[in-house]
Symmetry: C2
């Protein structure tokens, strides 16, 4: 099923213990799309400025991504982020953020983008997520990411946005912050109870906790599943790992979900978690999109086999 | 194969968001022994003071643990720790530590304790670990735990101690601190290269990283394995979880290792990791040893089945 993603398209300047890059292609929508495009058709919605390089659009187009709704705002600058990571890459400092064209961004979706069956609301202002969500009332599977900033400054809108999606993908710590619950399970169960009061009420049925180097966990009404991160001796740049993870997750679900709706099965979701984990592991091996843009399906499958072997043990 | 454990036998006063307990039975050797006793014969070595209650020795004896080498030091006080945990139980503050009889402790092992095939050196001064290690030169499997304090204040002795064991069990962050390597894999590979220069040189072949609520990872020369923690809605008291984990791990290895020595197989180690994970999950459900002391084998097996089901996914 085709996927529409709405989120940032950015230039990132990043310094890690292993090097640095100036103004490389980044942004949540870009990382998501490059990962999801391995599984299904992806349509990207987001604004860029005059400074956005045509060759960076080509990075997406070469993967078959539909970039027709990448809106070039005349006189504007592309969203810019500068950050630096600590020695073990678990801490990062934001040195500069320039919203640029994201200031006053009002998502305009083409008919094509509105017809997608699957929607990913990347980490942007919750009011914008609600706006976009309303433009795809018939979407069969909708997932959402967010961040601490919106939990702190736009909680009400975020809560409404969450009540209108099927799947919430958040960092572990953000899940606790959002719900005020100290454990992952308690936090996830809290979110599973947030049902929309609107007519098409469903509310989230799939909660995914991103745990960085420790992996990721999945909580549904029926079960729990967790997977370690694929172990890497050296991580070069974690930027975009979470969005790449989401791209693998949602892309796999879009490609494999069958039937007349209803939440995807736990078995399907586990496969999606595994593919997401593998995609994210490639993303962090090099700066920005460098690794994923030349990634092959065969490499994904090979690493998936390794991940599978690393997580099996004999039952009782 | 019988197991000897050397480490603290303590009274702990603990406050968590869910309650508090004064002077409850604790200590690394106690938590280890109560877990390992599910799998094999355990002999505990460590000092206590005049204040140590006979009923607390009975807690161990009722599990078939050999407490003959629990040495009562006349005029001394049992090791005491007081701590308080933060709201999500991931941070804890030590409010008081009284070494008591641990000050000037010189481990005296009976012949019986020296004849064990398996040895666990719980988190104590590395010089004491070296001393005890030398008293069991023929042990077939030796594992060691330690902590940041010894990395900072007794690194040389700790490095020598590590070079003389088969298995290192450390917290994730301690592994990085010890090796100066930013990733788990790099840190573990560094430790796998620390070979003893003594005659019976072998050096660690099994590295286990405890990751708290995220689970645990295993690195050997042949492979990598990781397992999430068993998910609990509410954790009451994490005190002793790491030692309970080690007890499950080493106990399982002792009971299942076969043949004429050599490192345990990766398959056996994975089973040990799974049992260790299950034991630790019970430990944190109540204060101190309260839950594990009435735990049954059937409960362990049932949770092991659940853990297995929570970690399986279809391979490619």
């Amino acid at each position: 099923m085709p996927i529409t993603v709405v989120g940032s398209i950015a230039y990132d300047s990043v310094k890690t213990p292993f090097g640095e890059r100036e103004r490389m292609l980044g942004g949540a929508a870009v990382h998501f799309a490059l990962a999801a495009a391995f599984f299904d058709e992806v349509r990207v919605v987001g604004p860029v400025g005059d400074d956005f390089r045509e060759e960076d659009l080509d990075v997406m187009r070469e993967r078959g991504i539909d970039a027709a709704d990448v809106e070039r705002i005349s006189g504007g600058s592309t969203f810019f982020w500068r950050g630096e990571y600590g020695w073990d890459l678990n801490t990062r400092e934001t040195l500069d953020t320039k919203l640029g064209v994201f200031e006053g961004f009002s998502p305009k979706l083409s008919r094509r983008s509105r017809e997608s069956d699957v929607l990913f609301l990347a980490n942007i202002q919750p009011e914008l997520q609600l706006d976009v969500r309303a433009q795809l009332p018939g979407a069969r599977f909708v997932a959402l990411d967010s961040m601490n900033l919106w939990i702190e400054t736009a909680r009400d809108a975020l809560e409404r946005a969450i009540a209108g999606v099927d799947c919430v993908v958040l960092n572990d710590a953000e899940l606790r912050q959002l719900t005020g619950k100290p454990s992952l399970i308690a936090a996830a169960r809290e979110l599973l109870s947030w049902t929309s009061s609107s007519e098409a009420a469903r509310g989230p049925s799939v909660i995914v906790a991103k745990q960085g180097e420790y992996g990721a966990a999945l909580v549904t009404r029926d079960g729990f599943f967790a997977l370690p991160a694929y172990p890497l001796e050296t991580v070069i740049d974690p930027t975009g790992a979470g969005d790449t993870f989401a791209g693998g997750l949602v892309g796999y679900i879009a490609a494999h979900a069958r039937g007349a709706g209803g939440p995807p099965s736990d078995e399907l979701l586990r496969g999606a978690m595994a593919h997401a984990t593998v995609l994210a592991s490639f993303n962090v091996e090099e700066f920005g999109t460098e690794r994923v843009r030349r990634l092959t399906r065969a490499e994904i499958d090979a690493r998936l086999s390794q991940l599978h072997a690393m997580t099996q043990f004999s039952g009782p």
